[in-house]
């Protein structure tokens, strides 16, 4: 009797196939993604240069706030946000122009399942430096746009800009751009018709200050409904007050443009 139990226990131990552990599976997937996005270039770890912040546990998987901070003087020219376990993992790619400051970038994204996220900074010297974060959120990709859907469509392309803190020449100014856009990712099912709502996403956002580039963002299906982009720009001396101009293009080739006055502080 005892022998047969031991025999069973042994079968139990050895009959099952060897299992890769989760950490190495996740690391292998990140390797595949690096190959897909960066080819043979390697991403070096560098918390000191770029850091990624996101809630470890998101309350709403369809609206997960993410912020990327880069160190001053790190000569960052571009930022990638990768959500490893999202279909369409490259959530955003941002390049900076002469009026942009990569010190802070904030976005809101959809998260499909518990996943690693990576922020990768590209430097003027062509280096790729990354940091990672594990986020517990699930179901965000197929989550419906919800109550905002009608409003997002009715007001599609409308924008708001909020400037925080003082506006002074040669100093980074913190701004938040809100874009009304449903950003339908094509994975959301209409609960009444049982059909997938066709994809319609923000493809690019170009921001200039008095005609000089601040940043350009390439978006994808992982950006949340009504995209909100937090960023910094640096006014030139003698250029204040200035005009910040935003051009948004979506996957239906619709173009939305809006200009915002940037007054100098104290004026």
């Amino acid at each position: 009797m005892l022998k047969s139990i031991i025999a069973l226990a042994l079968i139990g131990c050895f009959a099952v196939p060897a299992m890769a552990d989760e950490d190495s599976e996740r690391a292998a997937h990140w390797q595949e993604l690096q190959q897909a996005f960066f080819g043979d270039r390697t991403v070096q770890p560098g918390e000191g240069t770029v850091s990624l912040d996101a809630p470890m546990r998101a309350l709403d998987a369809s609206l997960v706030p993410v912020s990327i901070v880069t160190a001053p003087d790190s000569k960052v020219t571009g930022l990638y946000l990768v959500i490893d376990d999202n279909p369409g993992p490259l959530a955003a790619y941002v390049t900076y122009g002469p009026r942009g400051d990569p010190g802070l970038l904030t976005l809101r994204v959809r998260v499909n399942q518990y996943t690693l996220m990576h922020a990768v900074a590209e430097t003027a010297g062509g280096r790729l430096i990354g940091s990672e974060r594990f986020v517990k959120a699930a179901g965000g990709c197929s989550a419906p746009v919800g109550a905002n859907e009608a409003q997002s469509l009715a007001e599609i392309g409308r924008m708001k800009l909020r400037i925080s803190g003082p506006v002074e020449a040669d100093k980074p100014v913190l701004a938040q751009l809100m874009i009304r856009h449903p950003n339908f990712n094509g994975m959301q099912m209409n609960q009444l018709t049982r059909l997938y709502t066709p994809m319609r996403i923000v493809k690019t956002v170009d921001i200039t200050l008095n005609g000089e580039p601040v940043l350009s963002l390439d978006g994808d299906i992982s950006l949340a409904t009504d995209p909100v982009i937090g960023f910094r720009f640096v006014p030139r001396p003698d250029s204040l007050p200035a005009k910040l101009h935003v051009v948004v293009r979506d996957s239906d080739n619709a173009v939305f443009e809006q200009s915002f006055d940037v007054p100098a502080s104290g004026s």
Binding site: D21, H29, N86, N112, Q113, K136, N185, G186, M199
Partner: protein, 183 residues
């Protein structure tokens, strides 16, 4: 102090269940044909609802057939092929992933395919334990478990905690490929 304790317990309770705090839905007459995400029942007639702890015990005592019925992610028709990288499906180790068998209505050939899988996983033994799950608040697993009960399986376990409930308890997952139902 007592009040503080009660408040703390309340807070912890709220924080520990960020997903699926809504009141349970009543069991539908047949299969659920409404939106697949939403409040699910607390019960399943003819089967047993299991917690993560009960699932752990079941796995260590009588390795059940583990059936993940989570849906396949839907690739948008107008998305560039290179932008879509299907994510690894991370599930409870040793599970078989049968996407789509939890729908409200099944095509006859998909139904036959699901029955054949259950037969294979149990060696045709109707008393062998089966655990069916997908995600929290996912009706698919309730429907699929209900089907298994109607096919005559005597030890159908429905695990509403799903993959995220499993991960919340600190368990490892394993990436699996989907089995493909008949088109």
């Amino acid at each position: 102090m007592r009040l503080a304790g009660a408040l703390l317990a309340l807070l912890l309770g709220v924080c520990a269940s960020p997903i699926g705090a809504a009141d349970p839905a009543p069991e539908p007459e047949g299969f659920w044909t409404g939106p697949m995400q939403g409040a699910v029942p607390a019960t399943i007639a003819g089967g047993k609802v299991v917690t993560t702890g009960e699932l752990e015990a079941l796995i260590s005592s009588a390795m059940p057939a583990l059936v993940d019925v989570g849906p396949l992610p839907h690739k948008p028709d107008n998305l560039a092929a290179e932008a879509w990288i299907a994510p690894p499906h991370r599930t409870i180790p040793y599970s078989v992933w049968l996407p789509g068998v939890g729908k409200g209505e099944l095509a006859p050939d998909v139904e036959g395919w699901y029955r054949a899988w259950l037969t294979a996983l149990t060696d045709g033994d109707l008393s062998k334990p089966i655990v069916i799950f997908c995600h929290p608040n996912c009706w698919g697993s309730w429907n699929a478990a209900k089907r298994a009960i109607l096919y005559g399986y005597k030890a159908v376990h429905w695990y509403p905690g799903g993959i995220e409930g499993w991960q919340e308890s600190g368990h490892q997952t394993q990436a699996v490929e989907p089995e493909t139902p008949p088109q």
